[in-house]
Symmetry: C2
Subunit: 656 residues, 2 copies
């Protein structure tokens, strides 16, 4: 390389083999806004497959897009059906006792749980795009809906109103879910991070399990609050209501169910052990209670259940009155929670089996399913973690397994309801505890602790927030903490000092790569965040501190001549950010230090050029494409002033 002879403070002539930083090709504002909107709302580009197709093909594709059943049903075979039949029957045997249990968790009549396992799965068969999701009521959404409505209306004294509000909330949940999908705002559920979900689910599992102490201990007068403190007070202030018969029965079946769960975890091919255990427990305990007339020995039983399929409930929806705010709030919260569960489950199994689940489409499917459900006596449903896993393990091939389950539930509703008369409530409690214990994921929590202490703090906030305050506040607090972290990262971006890795033109973090060495006379900093109004003050101070520290340590005869800012990681900049460089240039000039920018990205260089009409700080002699080229060029420019540097940087210069 031919060294330039001009002084670096004048407009140096740039050697022709140094690569210039150029502004990106011009794009119009309209096109930019369009691109931005597309990336924000249509990152998956759903219309891609329609491009260049003939009209009738487009119509077919459109119908298939709206009704995914049209994609797989035409090729449906008896072989596939055999698989779906087995898995459908398996999840039905789980769905019936769980449906009854979860409805009780939501303080709803047990039969509503079965209604909700009948219609929604059928809707999902037509609209859903996951092949593994087993649809029905789930524990967390049931718990939250029950506890939120209980805050205003009592399920025991105002039963009819309570049911009305539950259906109305379900309608709003569905509306909210479908709206998220249609408006393509699905990314809102992304704000429930893994850490939040793990903490939240563990907290919910504890709360749900504690609630079951009512059935497990046979207590009749139990608190209606959800927090750990009122529940424990209820338990220990009502020891006179404890029933030893109930406790014995509870311990026995809880042990049985946990053992079955343990076996299936150890040997996944024995999935049917844990899948069948709840139904088996219900059957055995019902026969046992019937035989010993348990209801006369302090064992509480379900009692008479209605027979027949779902009655219409559209007339029960309440869109006016005092409780409208409550139903909307409950709808949004249970809607977001059930959506998160459904989408997460769908994505997990789609990844395992290598097909794709479209998040926004799933939201519409789940939302529409809940809206339909709310008109036929169903409460909020989604894809369940536990039952979907069983469905997958049992070999489900398409959404048809949901239809099989649905028909089985229908048969139950029509003919088998009287059989549940003597089912003891304690068994339902044991089934719930066994199901929710699976939501406590200690090893995932430990991994988070190992990886990221702040994430772990978020997890703990969700966990303790749910246990000690309430489900909603626990969730809100942890989401708030996560967003605060993002803002803090933006406000306090990292700046890192780079050094040269010997015998290369690579520059890396001096602290990270121990072999890297400083280049005398240069301070090379990498800014690792977008620059905006929230961090320019900090960056200004931090960079000046780097400069002062550097000036303090210079013991050689070569003082600091140049600050090189490596901008590869500055993905965007706003108007305040532009002013940072103006001010920095000014401050450094007073110290006779030059400011050089390396590899500003498209958006950044464009804005800097626009703002710098006087051509003060964004001109070719202060802009380089790589740190190596910047150091080489500036070194040769400085040569006249400081001949001692020549040797040290010669190796680099020749490599460029």
């Amino acid at each position: 390389m031919e060294p330039s002879t001009s002084d670096m403070h004048s407009t140096a002539e740039i050697p022709t083999n140094v690569h210039q930083v150029v502004p990106p090709p011009h794009t119009s504002t309209v096109k930019r806004v369009k691109t931005k909107l597309k990336e924000t709302f249509f990152p998956d580009d759903p219309l891609r497959q329609f491009k260049g197709q003939p009209l009738n093909r487009k119509l077919i594709l459109g119908a298939q897009y709206i009704f995914p059943i049209l994609q797989w049903f035409p090729n449906y075979s008896f072989k596939l059906f055999k698989s779906d039949l087995i898995s459908g029957l398996t999840i039905a045997s789980l769905a019936i006792p769980q449906g009854i249990s979860y409805a009780k968790l939501a303080s709803l009549p047990p039969i509503v749980g079965l209604y909700s396992s009948f219609v929604p799965p059928l809707v999902y068969v037509v609209l859903g795009s996951s092949r593994d999701l087993a649809v029905g009521p789930v524990s967390i959404a049931s718990l939250v809906m029950g506890s939120m409505i209980t805050e205003e209306v009592s399920p025991t004294t105002q039963t009819y109103l309570f049911i009305q509000l539950a259906f109305t909330s379900t309608f709003f949940a569905g509306l909210f879910q479908a709206a998220l999908g249609i408006l393509r705002l699905g990314f809102i559920i992304d704000f429930l991070s893994k850490a939040i979900l793990i903490g939240f689910m563990a907290g919910a599992a504890v709360i749900v399990s504690l609630q079951q102490l009512k059935s497990l201990l046979g207590i009749t007068h139990f608190t209606k609050e959800m927090g750990i403190i009122p529940v424990m007070r209820s338990v220990f202030h009502k020891t006179d209501e404890w029933s030893w018969e109930t406790i014995l029965l509870g311990i026995f079946f809880l042990g049985l169910l946990l053992l079955a769960r343990h076996i299936s975890i150890r040997k996944p091919e024995l999935f049917w052990v844990s899948a069948g255990a709840p139904l088996a427990s219900v059957i055995i305990s019902t026969i046992f209670t019937f035989a010993i007339k348990g209801q006369h020995h302090g064992i509480s039983i379900i009692g008479k259940l209605q027979q027949g399929i779902n009655p219409a409930s559209a007339n029960k929806l309440l869109f006016h009155g005092n409780h409208l705010g409550l139903t909307i709030k409950t709808g949004i919260i249970t809607g977001i929670l059930s959506l998160t569960e459904g989408i997460a489950v769908g994505r997990t199994f789609a990844t395992i089996r290598n097909y794709k689940v479209d998040g926004n489409k799933e939201m519409m499917a789940i939302g529409f399913m809940n809206m339909v459900g709310s008109t036929v006596s169903c409460y909020v449903t989604t894809g369940s973690f536990s039952r979907s896993a069983v469905n997958h393990n049992a070999g489900a091939r398409t959404a048809m397994s949901n239809a099989v389950m649905s028909v089985t539930v229908m048969v139950t509703l029509l003919f088998l309801m009287p059989l549940f008369h003597y089912t003891p409530n304690v068994v339902l409690g044991a089934i719930i505890i066994t199901a929710v214990i699976g939501l406590i994921d200690i090893s995932a929590a430990y991994l988070i602790w190992k990886l990221d202490k702040f994430d772990f703090l978020v997890l703990l906030t969700a966990f303790f927030g749910v246990i000690f305050i309430s489900v909603q506040y626990g969730l809100a607090l942890s989401v708030g903490l996560s967003i605060f972290r993002i803002l803090l990262q933006v406000t306090r971006p990292k700046t890192v000092m780079l050094g040269n890795i010997p015998a290369t033109n690579i520059y890396r973090n001096l602290h990270h790569y121990k072999e890297a060495t400083k280049v005398p006379g240069f301070l090379i900093l990498s800014i690792e965040a977008p620059i905006n109004f929230a961090n320019i003050t900090y960056l200004h101070e931090r960079i000046l501190r780097w400069v002062e520290e550097e000036e303090g340590t210079t013991t050689e005869n070569l003082s600091l001549q140049c600050v090189i800012l490596e901008m590869s990681a500055v993905s965007s900049i706003d108007t305040s950010g532009v002013s940072l460089f103006k001010e920095l240039k000014l401050t450094l000039k007073l110290k006779s230090v030059e400011l050089v920018l390396v590899n500003p990205l498209a958006e950044v260089i464009e804005k800097l050029k626009k703002a710098d009409e006087a051509n003060d700080f964004v001109r070719a002699d202060y802009l380089f494409l790589t740190v190596g080229e910047a150091v080489a060029t500036l070194t040769s420019a400085m040569k006249g002033q400081s001949p001692t540097m020549e040797e040290e940087t010669y190796a680099i210069v020749t490599e460029c």
Copy 2:
């Protein structure tokens, strides 16, 4: 470079001259948290200067840190005082009419404005570290305080309570400001970006000017609301109250003041023209009104003013009762607004004259000044934009000019108050309009429009929010929009396809650098944001879309073999982010595409290593320090499979 002969799908032997990515040296959690806290709360490292000093020196430095006057007063000379005397007298001539006007803007008795120009400047002389700041009441904080308290209490019928609430709000403003400084939370004011401030100040200027129509037109029954609509309604429904004498006087003095302002803008050395104009206008108009007995011709005058310096007002502070919430809210909002103005002004002039203003220390100074002020009949004060500029232009050298101004105001309070009896209110209105018109910065707004459309939207939101809704909501809306933008940037990070710049080993954005070319068989993507829970879903979908598009365009016989993710711009990662790479590896494996990471930064590589115990995706053969090395190494590994690539990438290989 000796090409490796192993297949790229097996654990390739890494040539020894390829640079390895290593995890950073181990640091303990405690040390990390300490560093993080230091960067968050002490980015300026205020204790640096104490290091290694003897004890008595430390004490002196400590005293100087708390009382900056000790830094400059020992070296204070008569020469400096001469400069400060001139500038002090100049700003006093501006401060007296402005003080009276701004107090009226806050619906407070005019004399409170003078009280506030007497004590607070003296406090600032001792505690403040800016040499140019001229302290006293300012228009925006006056307007906001007046309008917020008026929402609950009428300044005309409940005058005493109104004054009590104003002093109490001032106390809370000071407390809040000092607390921000002590807790080192100064970065909160950084969230008021330049765009917000420009829009907000322009909106406030419009609102303030409209309010002056009351005095300018001589209307006696005027609305108490601030919005543009009720004000215009007041103006045009009360045409019968318009007084032509007042209007004439108003137009004359407004013209005079605007002319003076225009002259000083054109010729900055004539700064004294606009600085002296308000006082001159007050004197001339007072004499004129007195001469023609204007009060009998519909010209409203100030009337009798109390004489004497500030009475104590600590007993007027109200820390209980119905209005406590209002005073706290008013305190926080006026506190944050006046702080922003004071700090921004201080920083601007510090940059021009190359000294440093410590943000957190200034907050404590301004906060303490307001707390003291509230006990001696002062309302909220800070460094004023307009008067500080005059101070600077008049040659102020130290904070002593504030003391000169303060003494001048004291003399006025003691002896000259009766002279203001006949001052017409219309002149005060003209003075306010002239002052606030300077807050409308069209050229800055145009620059923002040119640079960043979203920032301009924020500006418009602030402007129209202030004009049509209210000062607080305008501010809150625009801050909310700015934060929303940050979150959106995090949720939808940019991914960019890189290409090779011919005859180098530099890889840059293909869209930006037109000469860059794709490397066949490789998809090289750069991720330009931290990876976290809020964006993993998007990134996963987006990267797969890149892959699918790439697979679709491959017309040569060489299919996509490898996705290279350039991670230099990924400054941090959380636990959800780690799972992205696991899933991506899995999905790509099913397509027989390898995933390779380039230059993950310290935090990222460390977390990936920790999470990848099975050594599935973070191992030496999938990790490179530069894209060039990755392409070279992988190409030689692929050679056996696709000999056609050899030539194209040979140039790169030899360069590495």
